[in-house]
Structures are given as C-alpha cells and as structure tokens.
C-alpha cells in the first residue's frame, strides 16, 4: 500500500484564487503602451513585449526625444519588458496617462510578489518561491491576505520549515473557504515534522469538516481516504471502514474509497458485505484503476462465498473487459508512437479551448485520452506541452523572420543600386545650385547693406566705394587718428547722401518693390532647402548602415533556429514518452489482472464443476 507520507506529499493543493498579470479594463492614451496591451490581452506576450522594447529602445536612441511619438505624452520614462509584464509598476497618473511608477505602493508590490511566488511554486522552484513570498509585508490587501498566507505555509513546508508552516496553518484553520486546505496541510506539516500522532489526529479532524464548498469537501474526502488506507496498512479494517464510509459516493475519491471499503470488509472475512461497494464500483467507467481492480475483486468475493459458478462467469466477463481495454491501450500506444498524439496536441482548435485536451479522443486515430487524464492534468505535462507548443510556433516565426531579413537585405541592396548613382547626380547638381544660391543670398545681403549707395551715379558710386574702403581699413583701429578719419568719413558720407537724397525716396520705393519679388524667391528657396536636405538624408539613411545590423540578426536567428531544431523534437519525445510510460504502466497492470483472472477463472470453473458433481 502507498505510504502515508508519500500519499500526503502528493497533495499540496494550491488555493483557487489567482492574480491576473494584466490589469482590469484600462484607459490608454499612450499609443505604444496601448498597442502592447492589445497584444498582451490576447496572450501574445512576445509581440507585446517586443513592441514595447522596440519603442523604448528607439526612445533612448533619439538625440531629440521630443520628436518621438512615445514622448508625445510628456516626459515619462518608457517601459521595459519586465515592467510591462509586472503590471504592479504601471499606474495611472492624474492626467489619466499610464506611466511607470518608481515608488509603488506596498499593496501592489505584495500582489506582484504573491503572483511570482505562485508561479515559482507551481514550477517546483521552491527556493525562489520562498524569496518571493518573503517580500510580502504589511499592508496586505484583503483579497490576497489568506491566500498568500496559505501559499507561504505550503512553500515553508516544501522548504522543510515545518514550524513556520504549522504556525501559519494553525491560524488559517478558522478562515472560511480555505479551512480544508489549511487543515490538510497542517496535518502534512505535523507528520513531516515528526509529530505523526498529532498529524493523524489533525487529518481525522480534516475528515470531519462541515462545509458546502466543493473544494473543502474534496479535501475532506481525501483525508478520510488516506486515513482509511493507512488503517488497512496497519491491519485495522474496522477503523479503515469507518473512514472510507465518510467519503462521498459521488466525489472524485469515491472509487478508491469504495475499493478500500470492500477490502476492509474482505479483510474481516465479510465478503458478502465487500460485494456491496465492489459491485457499485464495478459498474463505473472501466478505465479507472479502482474500477478495474473491482472487476477482479467481485468474482473473488463470490469465490470466497463458494459461489464458484457465479465467480467463473464474472471472471470470464472480466477477461472480456480487460481484453477490450488492453486493445484500446495497445492502439493508444501505437498511436502515440506514430506521432499522432503530438499532432493532436498541436492542433490549433484545441489550443483555443481550455478543455481542448479532452477533445483529442474525438480526433481520428488519436490515442484514447481516458488513460492519460491524470498525466495531462499534471504540472510537468502541462509545462512540457506549453514549451512544445511555444517551440512549434517559434519555429514558424523564425522561418518568417529569416525570410523577412532576406527581404530587408534585398531592399537595402536595391535601394543602394537605385539611389547611389542618382544621388551622385543630385549631389553634383545640388552643389552647383547651392553655390548659386549662396552667391544669390550673398548678393541679396549686400544689396540690403548698401542699398542707399546703389542709387548713386557713376562718380558718386566711385566715391562711395572709396569711402567704404577707407571705413573698412580703419574699422579696427582705435587710435585718435583713426577716430578722426572715421568722423571725417561719416561727414563725407552725409554730404554724398544729401546730394543723392532728392531722388532717394522714389528710387528706394522702386527698389524695394523689385526686391519684394526677390524676397519671395529667397524665402521659397529657404523653404525648399531644409526639406531637401532632410529628404536627401532620408534617402541615404534608407540604405546605409544596415548591413551589420542585418548580419547580426541573421546570425542570432540562425542560432535560435539551430536550438529549436534540437530542442523541439526532444520536447516532443519527452511528451510522447510521458504518455507511453503512463499507458504502458496501465497496460502492465491490466495484463497482470488478466493473468490473475485467467488463473482464477480456471480455478473457479474447476471448483464449480466439482461442486456440481458433488465432489468435495
């Protein structure tokens, strides 16, 4: 029989409460963050995180982040992938914008720590789970308080800290909704810490909890079942029967309890009473372990009651049933070995439905999943399946990325081919045009500076020129002589200006009217200049500087492809071998039963015949 501690250790049940990774309905104003949440809400976390990472990295690379769309919302630091997944750090500020908060309330940190601890614990990483759960400190939100305490107790138990676990669980026993979990785990903790008697008493208490909660009732049944089989081990069938009789007839543990109850009666020699639970059990689903045993146990009881004829008939019927089930198991094993199990697991429609795995049996040539239910529900199988599906999808994604990178490489090459010669020509013309523009603008500035002097006649112009030259010559000289010269130049300029002044106004108006048009041309040139330079830069940037980046990415993708190529079939093989092991175990058991049934059938037939002939 299965030992008590091992049986108990297999039952570290985790509370049903769960904290979701992504927050409840939110209002997004940051487009990039909203886009990331759009993917995250559909479960496409790679896309969500990659989008955010890409935008964050781009934000950091900009020399003027004010130009970036992410920055549009106003100066908030961008998110990293970890921040995004850990939604505790994402909060909404007064303006309704979602931002990353440096100082997060302890309540939110606690929720995140609880979530992480659960995940680590479910993955068997008990030390990391302990580190996470220990981060929870007051104030703790009521919605996770008790669940966090229960989880802390379970983690302490798993890490051998029995005293800590016992202390927490003693307090949690009175909490409605988790009293069953607390009581049961307390029993485990007591037994594992060496206080077996107290632990068994606690288990007995657990087996008598009053509740309407389905989970608590299931725990109660399990506690009674464990106690019952323990009493059978200790050859205490009367006590065992008491415990088995407490288990609900319709619960998840009723089959094992009915079987145990029958064996308790059989141990006492009360085979007629043993027939009651065994007969009920023998009519249930034939794929169940306990039911299969009862199919053999019922004729055994009849044989013990000297009803050998009946026993022989029932052994015959048992053989037929076992043959059918063995056939199913053999076909299932063949189906798994032929790869149909993996194919079925990877079907898209099954992944859309949370009960999808159960629908495998409906697929043609897929293995029968009745014998694989326990395996498929186990953490190890679920984790392996998740990894297998991830790798399968990743393989497609990597193939797509390889094509994308080749296409991008080609785009860069084509642009290089197209733009380089064209840009060379454009540059040549631009340099020439730029020179003309420069000269034009210089002349235009000169006109502005020297406009008055330009109205002068030939002789006056010469004088003006001489005056400019003299002014230029002495402009940096601070000596008294130079100062006097500048004064005299000013006086002479004034005289010349006075001479040209009468016609000045009209000439100036005419000149400015003419210049207005050139001003417009000048502005137009300036307006065109900046966009041209940007476009010219954009054209160059469209094909230069990408070779190294593309090459690096191609290598990284190829590495990933190689890893997936190795890992995917290995992961698939692991899933198949887990299934085959489970099926072979059941087949071996059934074959043993079949052998025993054959022997017992012959024996019963022989005795029945002798009885008929009146031979003792």
């Amino acid at each position: 029989m299965i030992r008590l501690t091992t049986l108990l250790c297999g039952l570290c049940l985790v509370s049903a409460a769960s904290a979701s990774v992504v927050a409840s309905p939110v209002i997004m104003r940051n487009l990039q963050l909203g886009e990331a949440f759009y993917y995250a809400y559909q479960g496409a976390y790679i896309d969500a995180v990659a989008e955010l990472d890409a935008k964050s990295a781009r934000f950091y690379r900009l020399d003027d982040p004010n130009l970036d769309a992410l920055q549009f919302q106003g100066g908030y630091p961008p998110f990293t992938a970890t921040d995004f997944v850990s939604s505790a750090r994402i909060i909404k500020n007064k303006e309704g914008i979602w931002i990353l908060e440096d100082k997060v309330e302890q309540v939110k940190r606690n929720e995140e720590a609880y979530r992480q601890a659960r995940i680590f614990f479910q993955n068997g990483q008990t030390e990391k789970a302990l580190l996470s759960i220990e981060k929870i400190i007051e104030p703790v939100h009521d919605k996770i308080r008790n669940d966090a305490l229960l989880l802390r107790a379970q983690i302490s138990l798993a890490n051998g800290k029995f005293d800590d676990a016992i202390k927490i669980l003693l307090a949690l026993q009175k909490v409605k909704g988790i009293e069953g979990f607390a009581s049961y785990n307390l029993a485990i903790a007591l037994i594992q810490s060496g206080q077996e008697k107290k632990g068994l008493e606690q288990l007995s208490k657990t087996g008598q909890i009053n509740s309407n909660d389905e989970n608590t009732l299931a725990i109660r049944d399990k506690a009674n079942l464990v106690l019952g089989y323990r009493q059978i081990e200790k050859k205490q069938p009367v006590l065992a029967k008491e415990y088995f009789d407490r288990v609900r007839v319709s619960g998840p543990f009723s089959n094992k309890a009915l079987l145990g109850s029958g064996w308790a009666d059989a141990t006492l020699g009360n085979f007629d009473r043993a027939l009651v639970p065994w007969s009920i059990l023998a009519k249930r689903s034939v794929t169940d372990v306990a039911v299969q045993e009862s199919i053999l146990a019922v004729p055994y009881a009849y044989a013990q009651l000297s009803l050998h004829g009946r026993a022989a008939v029932l052994y015959g019927s048992a053989l037929e049933k076992f043959a059918v089930e063995l056939n199913k198991l053999n076909n299932s094993i063949k189906s798994v070995r032929a790869g149909r199990f993996l194919q079925a697991l990877a079907r898209e429609e099954l992944q859309q439905d949370k009960n999808g795995l159960l629908k495998i049996r409906d697929l043609p040539q897929a293995p029968d999943t009745y014998y694989l239910l326990e395996l498929m529900a186990s953490n190890d199988f679920q984790q392996s399946l998740k990894n297998y599906l991830y790798l399968k999808n990743l393989r497609k994604r990597l193939a797509s990325w390889e094509q994308t990178l080749s296409a991008l490489e080609e785009i860069v090459a084509l642009r290089n081919q197209y733009y380089k010669p064209q840009l060379a020509m454009v540059d040549k013309r631009f340099r020439s045009l730029n020179g003309h523009i420069g000269a034009y603008l210089k002349a235009r500035r000169l006109i502005d500076e020297r406009l008055p002097s330009m109205f002068a006649k030939g002789e006056e112009r010469v004088l003006w020129e001489k005056l400019y030259q003299l002014e230029d010559k002495h402009k940096n000289d601070n000596s008294p002589v130079a100062h006097d010269i500048r004064r005299r130049i000013k006086r002479l300029s004034g005289i010349l200006l006075w001479q040209t002044y009468p016609a000045y106004d009209k000439q100036l108006i005419d000149a400015y009217q003419t210049l207005q048009q050139t001003n417009l041309n000048s502005e137009r040139l300036t307006r065109l200049y900046t966009p041209f330079v940007r476009l010219r830069l954009a054209a160059t940037q469209s094909y230069t500087g990408y070779d190294d980046q593309i090459s690096l990415l191609k290598n990284q993708v190829q590495d990933a492809v190689d890893k997936v190529k190795t890992l995917l079939p290995q992961q698939g093989q692991l899933l198949e071998s887990m299934a085959i092991n489970a099926l072979e175990l059941r087949r071996k058991r059934l074959e043993e039963y079949q052998t025993q049934a054959r022997i017992a059938l012959a024996e019963s037939y022989d005795r029945a015949t002798k009885m008929q002939r009146g031979v003792k």
Partner: protein, 173 residues
C-alpha cells in the same frame, strides 16, 4: 487473505515503484528542458525587438510613415465586426475582428490598424465601420477626416470608436 489479493497488492506496489522512478526521471528532464526554453525566450524577445525596429526604419521611415490606431471608447459596448480604411480614396485596409481581438480592445488595448507610407501634404482618411450596438442592433458608421503629413516625423492618427460615432486625434507632426 486470498492468493488474488496478495498478487494484486504485490503488482500494485511494483507498479507504484516503477511509476515513481519514471516520474522522477521525467521531472528532471522537464526541468532541464524548461530552463533551455526560458533561455531561448529571452533571446527571442531581444531579436523580436531589434527586428521590429529594423523593419520600421527600413519600410516605414518617419518622414513618410502614416500609422492609424483604433481604440474603443472606455465602457462602450460596441461590438466591432469589421473596419475599412481608405486613404485618399484608395483602400488602405479592411479588418475583420475575432472575439479575442474585440475583447482586447474592450479591455483598453489599442490596435495598430494600418501602417504605410504617404507623401507630405494634405490627405483624406475615410472610415467605414460595421458592428452591433449594445442593444444588439446592426450598426454602420462612416466618417471622413482630413490631415496633413509633414516632413518632420511619423504621422500617427488615433481613432476612438463608440456606439455613437468616432473621435479622431492626430498625433505628432
């Protein structure tokens, strides 16, 4: 106790031992594979991010990029079935929504409906929506919007939809 029972018990114990050993081996292998897969996941995230950036730089440079985003008004129960966008009278995209995508929008996610390249200058965006209102009646809505694409950066347009119409917000530029 009978011969049958002793055999059965013996078989069960034997099978239990075999199962336990097999389970331990499987657990070790599962953990090993899981660690390798987690390593790959980290690398993949990095590659995905780099590739996203590269694609955007090459295919949709900011000087010509136009991106149209769609969101649902908070608390609105509009069931969006399909959305069509035209830019300057030409079909840009026609999108049909799955239940998952609709749920993501209803939770506050924002969908990047369209990314493309356009010239600088004035343009028109036409929107056609088909869906069902909160009272489960067929709902159709059309709207037209003018916008200007400048040279400086990508043009981002956010359309917020509700059962009573749409609100369009043009960002950047």
């Amino acid at each position: 106790m009978g011969f049958v029972k002793r055999i059965v018990i013996g078989t069960l114990i034997g099978l239990w031992i075999t199962a336990s050993v097999a389970a331990e081996v499987a657990k070790t292998q599962v953990k090993g594979f899981d660690e390798q897969v987690q390593d790959i996941k980290k690398n993949i995230l990095g590659i995905a991010s780099e590739l996203n950036q590269l694609e955007e730089q090459l295919l949709f440079p900011s000087s010509t990029q136009l991106a149209v985003f769609v969101a649902l008004a908070p608390g609105d129960n509009l069931r969006l079935d399909a959305l069509t966008i035209k830019i300057d009278g030409k079909d840009a995209t026609h999108y049909i929504y799955s239940a998952k995508e609709l749920e993501a929008l209803q939770h506050g996610g924002i969908q990047r409906l369209y990314t493309g390249n356009i010239e600088t200058g004035e343009h028109t965006l036409d929107l056609d929506l088909i869906g069902k209102s909160s009272s489960n009646k067929d709902y159709q809505y059309s709207a037209s919007y003018k916008f200007v694409k400048g040279i400086k950066g990508a043009k981002l347009i956010e359309i917020t939809l509700s059962g009573s119409g749409s609100k369009i917000e043009s960002l950047t530029d």
